[in-house]
Symmetry: C2
Subunit: 356 residues, 2 copies
């Protein structure tokens, strides 16, 4: 570790700590400096086992408590959009990563430093490359190489939930449907078969898909089947022989990945369908004791997480998993990303009350 590693004051106000983290750029693949700073700070606490894995930092206690809570936050951000360094206006901190999810990281780092005698054992994972492809995601590597570090009774992921508990997550599927035709000069269009005209049927099937609303543990998951892209055409005077429709299916976590694939294939029966990516959702698992206790501590009614998050990984490992972090999730990945400093402090204290 070089002398240039920024020093993090974990005992400081978690809102100030968020500002410090945001001002250390860490776009996916370029998290080393921030990971070094986090490693240096948590080792400095002197009371945790610390493991460095690539640009991930894993921290755990061994107090012999009856339950273990796994807390996780990714260190990387999407590409900076002219919004680093951060900017503070009254109670609002603006900048890349303020919501997704350096405020969540600051909450977890601050609790590591200030929880003196927690009632539960803690494992905290700060990881890299969440914003890019699954294979590069730090959790993929940790699951492969350090599977024992992921054992827990409950996982809490610090992804933004704007003060609420968001349980489980929906699954997501990406596919391309291809409609074929036959090319011809447009002056003699009857000699061809227009693939773009043919795509009308695909679009109608997608639009008329009976999207379900599924209630699980009091959380309502609302599905969505959509064309998110379309492309076709050869030239202004040619009947097109191909039209491709890009599809995104967000499905409730009572369907498996395989079932979601089958739904899309059945809906588009008769067309070429290439499924390019599918990630199962996560059941909320709120009936598990540790999860129920957390929901009670956090107060309010938990709701469904619509976007896919890494809670699905924990659910796949049999660990009940929820999202709980500062910031409005709809601001994630936007140039206008910002977070309330008050909310960072309030959510940190709520989480402390559950762990203390």
């Amino acid at each position: 570790m070089s002398a240039a590693v920024p020093r993090l004051d974990l005992h400081a106000d978690p809102a100030d700590l968020t500002r410090t983290l945001v001002d250390i750029p860490s776009v996916s693949g370029d998290e080393q400096l921030l990971a070094d700073a986090v490693e240096q700070a948590v080792r400095g606490l002197g009371r945790y086992e610390v493991l460095r894995s690539g640009n991930a930092v894993l921290v755990r206690s061994d107090l012999g408590r009856p339950t273990r809570v796994l807390l996780a936050g990714h260190l990387d951000t999407v590409p900076i959009a002219g919004n680093v360094p951060s900017r503070t206006e009254g109670d609002v901190l603006h900048g890349c990563g303020t919501t997704d999810m350096k405020s969540g990281d600051a909450m977890l780092l601050h609790l590591l430093a200030t929880l003196e005698n927690p009632s539960r054992d803690l494992t905290v994972v700060f990881y890299d490359c969440e914003e890019i492809e699954h294979e590069r995601n730090g959790l993929t590597r940790i699951e492969r190489e350090h599977r024992d570090w992921l054992a827990a009774d409950l996982a809490i992921l610090g992804e933004p939930t704007d003060g609420k508990v968001e349980a489980g997550c929906q699954g997501t599927l990406a596919a391309w449907a291809t409609v074929r035709g036959h090319r011809a000069h447009s002056a003699r269009s009857w000699m061809g078969v227009n693939a773009i005209h043919g795509a009308a049927d695909v679009l109608q099937r997608l639009a008329s898909f009976p999207a379900r609303e599924v209630d699980i543990d009091g959380c309502v998951y609302r599905e969505g089947m959509n064309a998110v892209g379309i492309t076709g055409g050869v030239a202004g005077n040619v009947i097109p022989d191909e039209c491709r429709v890009r599809i995104n299916f967000r499905f409730a976590p009572d369907r498996s990945a395989e079932q979601a694939v089958a739904v899309v294939r059945e809906l588009l029966d008769g067309y070429e369908v290439e499924v390019v990516d599918v990630a199962a959702g996560a059941l909320p698992g709120l009936s598990a004791p540790a999860a129920a206790e957390f929901v009670a501590a956090a107060g309010g009614t938990p709701s469904a997480k619509y976007g896919w998050t890494d809670v699905a990984r924990f659910a796949a490992l049999g660990i009940p998993a929820v999202n709980y972090g500062p910031g409005n999730p709809s601001l994630a990945h936007t140039r206008e990303e910002h977070v309330s400093l008050t909310q960072i402090r309030e959510m940190t204290e709520t989480l402390r009350s559950f762990l203390a």
Copy 2:
């Protein structure tokens, strides 16, 4: 004119002359060398008035005949696709421009040289930039600057018709229809309005357009309304807020350009429609005496020209106009472009019989 100008032997076999013309590259905008060669050759005949206009060469007789026939051929080609110089296989000449339309040019040049005592006065226009935008087309310039050269009782355009007379031409209209929606994260798709789904209605209206078949002077014009391109989509996780459909309408020449625009606007009523180009068709005009005599000389039954050609300009000037030239029009603009040497010779003789 420099010494490097190739010499054309207009008295030679028009099939050989075609080969010579193909081997002088003349992609649109780069016709000077070929125009120089044509100008030198027709001036060398010594019995016509010759006018050079840019890279166009205009030639006319003044024999005091009761009728005047205007013959026209463009000197330019689409970009070469590895198919120049030409290649002869038996009766077939392969290469860029063999069909569209240096075989037609060769036919006209050979007749200029070998028609000793024509029964009709002749005006022959070899022009530039037919394959690109209207404003650069040599005929646009000639119509503006040398309008008197375009007076005639019949115009014959040497565009490929594969041995037949193709009368008039269909009109063509290009437009974009835009469907608007509202952007949202695809995990919460019900908060958005999917513009690509909305395009299904546009595509269905296009596909169900009642395309007419219109019989005019025994020529049947069959219309076509088509999507020739479609584009939409923001990202794999975003409900798209815009989808654009590129439209091509080929319409029978009994509709004016204004009427064609109205047809498209009515069909897509309720959507944003931007008409980017419209070119009226040309009525066949076969009831005019000179046209009827030409059809009789050519034999067979004239048919409708489906593609748009410059005959529409002559029709707009009140001159009956037909297409008549060697080569299969469906080979135009293809890498496989080729022409039958026998057909070049036969069509030249048929045209001679009408003009002699």
